[in-house]
Amino acid sequence: MASTQAMCSSFKQELLTGTHVIGTDVLKIALYLDAATLGAATTAYSATNEVANSGTYTAGGSTVTFNAPALTGTTAYAGPTSASTVSWTSFTATGFSAALIYNSTKTNKAISVHTFASQSITAGTFTITFPTNAAGTAILNLA
């Protein structure tokens, strides 16, 4: 089994309770192996099937700074600054295909799962560039 790209269901409920303060809370992104089964049902960060510590990658992943949520028309959106990046250097990992964005300020509550073609890095750099932070393309969109 593999992970499934999704906005976590628990996150949707937590939006209604005002749990998350996107743009203020510290959000992090962690990488997961092909064996992980993250998806809509994921509720919090877990080290199970996370890539191992290597180079500058340590358990829990890295901080990703989100801009304050914005509104264009009827779409509210949030994400890192357009084309901003997160990267890990001197990194080695084989067969990983998912990233979990979660809220480390709020007991590591899960936000979203992003999947991609399985990757392997050898003593190198893995860089993620985030999409344009605009309605429809941002990491998180509520339409």
């Binding site: 790209q5 001197s90 890095i121 050898t122 003593a123 560039t129 999409p131 429809g136 990491i139 339409a143």
Partner: protein, 64 residues
């Protein structure tokens, strides 16, 4: 001279065979760089550009 971090430590780039490539899917664009030494992969880096994020659509019910 450029040094490349490899599984054998830093090595001079001129000693290595460099290979580059890219892939594009519906969700991301991936560019990769590999360095080989004596037919052994000693370095691989990847730059992944996410195309777009996730959508949630809200609905409201009508009063009856």
């Amino acid at each position: 001279m450029a040094l490349i971090t490899t599984i054998h430590g830093d090595m001079e780039e001129v000693l290595l065979e460099k290979r580059v490539g890219s892939e594009e899917t519906d969700t991301e664009i991936i560019n990769w760089v590999e360095y080989w030494y004596n037919s052994e992969l000693v370095h691989r880096s990847v730059h992944m550009h996410l195309k777009q994020g996730l959508d949630v659509f809200g609905e409201t019910a009508t009063f009856s």
